[in-house]
């Protein structure tokens, strides 16, 4: 079994994994970080999105060994020192989540958008979230939350 070394939520991890282990299984089953979810088996729903090497990635469609040497951030790593990430705060304030199942993937994905485009317009936010399915919110408050966060981060900068 290959041994991989990576950083997950700023903690170093060294692990032996079967070569066929998916990154999402490493995260959920081995590291017990169950905030990353599995909502489909065809790489469409986005419930499993995490950051790998600064890019949002569907962790169900990546092997754990591919993350060797990388920096991985899951939803559990978003809040820093007990402070919610501005996006998490914005989702809370805008009621951007209901059942919460899609939420970790949506939040991580949106954080990648804001990194790449700090002032997205409504259409850009909606297009970016193409890979994240939410069945509860009708996306209305998700988009509002991302907009508010973008505005605040601009204001703060």
């Amino acid at each position: 079994m290959p041994t991989i070394k990576l950083t997950v939520n700023a903690k170093p991890v060294t692990m032996e994994v079967e070569a066929r282990t998916l990154l999402v299984d490493l995260i959920r089953e081995h590291l017990k970080l169950t905030g990353t979810h599995v909502g489909c088996d065809t790489s469409q729903c986005g419930a499993c999105v995490v950051m790998v090497g600064g890019q949002s990635v569907k962790s169900c469609s990546m092997l754990a060994v591919e993350a060797d040497g990388q920096d991985v951030t899951t939803i559990e790593g978003m809040a820093k020192n007990g402070e919610l990430h501005p996006l998490q705060k914005a989702f809370h304030e805008n009621h951007g989540l209901q059942c919460g199942f899609c939420t970790p993937g949506v939040v991580i994905s949106a954080s990648d958008l804001l990194k790449k485009n700090p002032s997205p317009d409504e259409g850009q936010i909606r297009e970016w979230l193409e890979g994240n399915i939410c069945r509860c919110t009708g996306y209305h408050n998700i988009v509002k939350a991302v907009q508010q966060c973008a505005d605040e981060m601009k204001g703060g900068a």
Partner: protein
């Protein structure tokens, strides 16, 4: 502190979900847990000639392989249907058996054939592929049309008539025929309300655990109603007595109806845990969800509306065929009958209505309630018909609706189809929605769109739904095998904070916040001092769960009643301590005050005293401060409203873009407007999804063609604009809160508004009808057909 009903309180449950600390069933792992994989039929209809499990049993890591024969030998009962429908002639519906594993014949793709228990998920799945099943194919009934055809093959050999489950009717035929005989106009329509798949984002999962040392069974399951599951397992499928069976529905990732029902896997993991002596976990892959979660809708209807010379409705005749799938799921039989036929009067005065519904079996996944359940089908039929009538009569569709809508002074309004609406101001909802969408200037927008080569259309619908399921006496009279009250308990802790237990279940609706607001407001304490517990049969009294927009109007009312008992007891305690008569103690702003004096006790002081009593007159006053209540509603609640949609269609591609959605809903008294708006947004998205995108489609062989997110079109963020959510509220007259329920309104009202808008856009090109979902292909074809004609 105190008055928080109606406030936009941010959700208490958010922090755990936003930080990855939610606990959904698949996130839980029990010590020494094994895994289950269910082998499912690849055929829609076949005899199981033989099944050989020997190789699978020898495979790596396998602990047990169980088949339909083992299931029968174990003496388990089948999954029951909770609603008995009677045929026109009074005989009961046909109720086929529904074992958790089938032994002799499979009846739909996904039917449960065997279950493998192994050390790991991968081992269980690999071993399942080694089970040798010899199937002998049988002719397939893939849909309603095939089911009712002369000489159709039979899904069940013993159905008395064809593939019929029941033929039911409501209303009165003769007066309705008489209304048609004197009508000036008759407008008719043929409609398909297509099959949908609910697709909660969390796939179903279950963990069974049996402890031989105590004989306790525990089931963690993705359920909207854990007590109901306990009842069904206790009384029907496994006969485990309830005091030895605990059901926990932890965080649940959406339901929309699909997680109401008792599913085979719940039986299988409990059974398997006993067989292998270890906890057993099963988690659906999405492709399994597609073929095993109960589907929704699937009606074919013909309807006629009789209208007089003044444009007043005289009568409505409806004939509907409804697809049940291969088996009767828990609530399936009620959906096309009492949740559909009873709503056919809509918001209108229609003096005579007669509806017939024939439900049939097919070789497809079971169909049951999906967000709205029956009410979207009724609304779709009526609102398509009304718009069509307006077009054929040359009357403006707003005007035609105004002429026929039930007026506020007509309430309580008895419809010809059993329901008595208590209150509503539907025409006001129409005004508010039209105002929001700027209806007056629509033609200008159509012109402007035309200048860009786009076809713009506007459509609307008015709707009413029956929610707050359900008044038990009425439900029983119409075939429900259970009452549908709700329970609630308020436990005041010694230092004045409160733990609330509800028999409803939250899987996205935010009960932990809404119910906390309700109780905080009533008891005059801060929202932060109230914790709401649900989803575990070991800590709440019996409850019926969450569906049918019942949690607030029924479950909230139960809590309100419990709160009244708390206040009543608090007054007794305060009277004793303050040495006053109980009649002189009033509860105001969170304080117990002796009228006409300055003597008073804070709520927390009374709570403390209740738990450290020193000199209570024990004959009259027990220590402690905890009260429970059961609330059985007197009537259904009737949320209603108006949805208006504007679309733009690109005639080159047939792509329909929803450019504006304006709604005005009356959901009764609102506790948390932020949460209510969120519920409406979600319902609208599912309703627009039905109108434009979603369709569960089977081929001739009964194979689901849309069995993954690559083929079943889920709505994405870019499919919607922001929704304009308005309201015009009247209060429910018969529950203590005045609330009506809001979970389903979006999915009920909007599909006909979207399709009416699409037709409105296409009409100038000669298109007068389109089916759901109005996909680009359908729209493009309709435009091209019209061009040819």
């Amino acid at each position: 502190m105190g008055k928080v009903i109606g406030e936009r309180v941010l959700r208490k449950e958010d922090t755990r979900f936003l930080t990855g600390k939610g606990r959904y069933t698949d996130d839980l792992n029990r010590p020494n847990q094994a895994y289950a994989y269910v082998l499912r039929s690849p055929m829609a209809h076949a005899k199981i000639a033989s099944i050989d499990t020997e190789d699978a049993k020898q495979a790596d890591g396998v602990l047990a392989v169980l088949t339909g024969k083992d299931h029968a030998d174990a003496g388990f009962g089948g999954l029951p249907c909770g609603w008995l429908i009677h045929n026109k002639d009074g005989s009961p519906m046909h109720e086929p058996p529904h074992p958790s594993l089938v032994a002799d014949r499979v009846r739909h793709v996904g039917d449960n054939v065997a279950v493998v228990i192994a050390e790991t998920k991968a081992q269980a799945k690999a071993a399942a592929q080694m089970i040798m099943v010899d199937y002998e194919e049988l002719p397939v009934v893939p849909d309603i049309t095939a089911a009712i055809a002369d000489g159709a093959p039979k899904v069940w050999d013993d159905t008395p008539v064809g593939n019929r489950c029941y033929d039911w009717h409501i209303g009165e035929k003769d007066p309705t025929d008489a209304a048609f005989a004197k009508a000036k106009h008759v407008v008719s329509i043929d409609l398909v309300n297509q099959r949908l798949i609910p697709n909660a984002m969390e796939p179903r999962a279950a963990i069974g655990e049996y402890d031989p040392s105590t004989d306790d069974h525990t089931l963690w399951t993705t359920s909207q109603n854990p007590h109901l599951i306990r009842l069904l397992i206790g009384a029907f499928t496994m006969q485990i007595p309830e005091h030895k069976l605990r059901i926990i529905a932890p965080d649940v990732g959406g339901g929309f109806g699909s997680k109401i029902y008792h599913y085979a896997e719940e039986v299988l993991v409990l059974w398997a845990s006993k067989v292998v002596g270890r906890p057993v976990k099963w988690t659906a892959e999405r492709s399994e969800s597609f073929i095993t979660d109960a589907h929704g809708r699937d009606h074919i209807s013909h309807a006629e509306l009789a209208i007089d010379d003044k444009g007043k409705f005289l009568g409505l005749r409806v004939s509907t065929k409804a697809n049940m799938g291969a088996y009767l799921s828990t609530f399936a039989s009620a959906v096309p009958t009492y949740l559909y036929g009873t709503l056919l009067s809509g918001v209108y005065v229609i003096p005579a209505i007669y509806a017939e519904v024939e439900a049939v079996f097919t070789n497809t996944t079971a169909v049951d309630a999906y967000r709205g359940a029956g009410r979207p089908e009724a609304t779709y039929l009526l609102e398509r018909l009304v718009t069509k009538a307006a077009r054929e009569l040359g009357i403006d569709e707003v005007e035609l609706r105004r002429r026929n809508v039930i007026q506020p002074d007509q309430f309580p309004y008895q419809t010809p189809v059993a329901l008595e609406y208590d209150v509503g101001e539907f025409e006001k909802c129409l005004d508010v929605a039209l105002e929001q969408v700027d209806y007056a200037n629509f033609e200008k927008r159509r012109e402007e769109a035309k200048s860009r080569g786009m076809l713009r259309g506007i459509g609307m619908s008015l709707y009413v739904e029956a929610c707050g399921l359900a008044p038990s006496a009425l439900a029983g009279a119409i075939g429900a095998r259970a009452g549908l009250y709700e329970s609630g308990t308020i436990r005041v802790n010694p230092t004045g904070n409160v733990t609330v237990f509800t028999g409803t279940h939250s899987h996205g609706q935010g009960h932990e916040t809404t119910f906390a607001q309700l109780v905080a407001d009533q008891l005059g304490i801060p929202v932060e001092s109230v914790e709401v517990k649900h989803g575990d049969t070991s800590n709440t009294a019996f409850g019926m769960g969450s569906y049918g927009s019942r949690s607030l109007p029924v479950g909230g009312s139960a809590l309100w009643k419990a709160g009244e008992k708390i206040i009543a007891k608090g007054r007794k305690i305060a009277a004793h301590i303050l040495e006053a008569s109980v009649d002189d103690v009033e509860f105001v702003d969170g304080e117990f005050r002796v009228k006409g004096t300055d003597k008073k006790m804070l709520f927390a002081e009374v709570a403390f005293s209740a738990y450290v009593p020193h000199n209570y007159p024990l004959e009259e006053l027990e220590p402690g401060l905890e009260e429970s209540a059961f609330y059985d509603p007197k009537n259904f609640t009737f949320p209603g409203g108006c949805h208006v949609v504007e679309v733009e269609i690109d005639p080159e591609t047939g792509v329909t873009k929803v450019v504006d959605v304006a709604v005005a809903d009356d959901v009764g008294k609102v506790i948390n407007p932020m949460i209510v708006d969120g519920q409406i947004h979600g319902g609208l998205a599912q309703g627009i999804g039905q109108a434009l995108l979603e369709h569960a489609k089977y081929d001739e062989q009964g194979q689901l063609l849309t069995g993954s997110y690559m083929t079943y079109t889920m709505p994405r963020a870019a499919d919607f604009p922001f929704f304009k959510v308005g309201n015009h509220v009247t209060h429910c007259t018969h529950n203590p809160l005045g609330s009506k329920g809001c979970g389903e309104v979006g999915a009920i009202g909007v599909p006909p508004a979207v399709i009416n808008a699409v037709i409105n856009a296409l009409e100038p090109e000669g298109v007068t009808d389109i089916e759901m979902p109005a996909t680009p292909e359908r729209v493009w074809r309709a435009l091209n057909e019209a061009k040819k004609a």
